[in-house]
Symmetry: C2
Subunit: 136 residues, 2 copies
């Protein structure tokens, strides 16, 4: 597993496909994930720390975690199959660990929200990542 | 508290404001709530039982509830202040009850998803509901 961070988000409201770029924390490799516009706007809201008057859906999810005394400890981009990235949320509560299947966009939104670490499985990183400066 | 059901959803993709109508289960009163387009599409997906290949954000929230062995038992439209409706999700886990603040659109989406009952506080119902056939 390689720890990454969100290094870029490209939002083009005229397009159906938005892009986030995840970059190695201790390295130069990065790769893009195509996400939807709603998902990109949700991530952008977390980054820009724009406080909404009412809880949006990700904030509701965070409220539910907090209500149960649970914590999001990690989000892992675990797989890439048929051009679709998969992610796994790791939640902890009362010393127990729970893993939940998620889209990378939700996983990244929640990780940024909760300041949880974002990881990418080595096999995924090795198959898609490029060094900075390399053509994608 | 009055039990209601979703009686109508009006989606106009050219408008920023979509409408859901909640109607008394054992009566003729109903009232509209204005919601956003993303929220209306999420509700519409649940109603039409359109199965998405990957979990969308509400489905992720439901997965988290299931992972914890928790159940959504009720959604309550609890208040109306400054033209904004408030809702409360009631969750149960291990015999304990948790209440979480939510937007009505998220609350209704989750209630439909989990086949939980939807209620409206009497004070809200009395202030906004109209009998069917009455002008809004």
């Amino acid at each position: 597993m390689v720890e990454v961070e969100l290094s870029r988000i490209v939002i083009d409201e005229t397009s159906d496909e938005q892009v986030i770029v995840l970059k190695e924390k201790n390295g130069r490799r990065s790769f893009p994930i195509v996400i939807g516009i709603f998902e990109a706007l949700a991530i952008n809201r977390v980054i820009s720390e724009r406080k909404m008057p009412r809880p949006l859906t990700h904030e509701l999810l965070v409220s539910v975690l907090h209500a149960f005394g649970a914590k999001l400890t990690r989000c892992l981009v675990s797989d890439l199959r048929n051009n679709t990235y998969y992610a796994i949320l790791t939640l902890q509560r009362d010393g127990k660990t729970y893993e939940v299947d998620a889209r990378p966009s939700d996983a990244v939104t929640l990780a940024l929200h909760e300041k949880a670490a974002i990881f990418v499985e080595d096999s995924v990183m090795d198959s898609v990542a490029r060094e900075e400066g390399e053509a994608l």
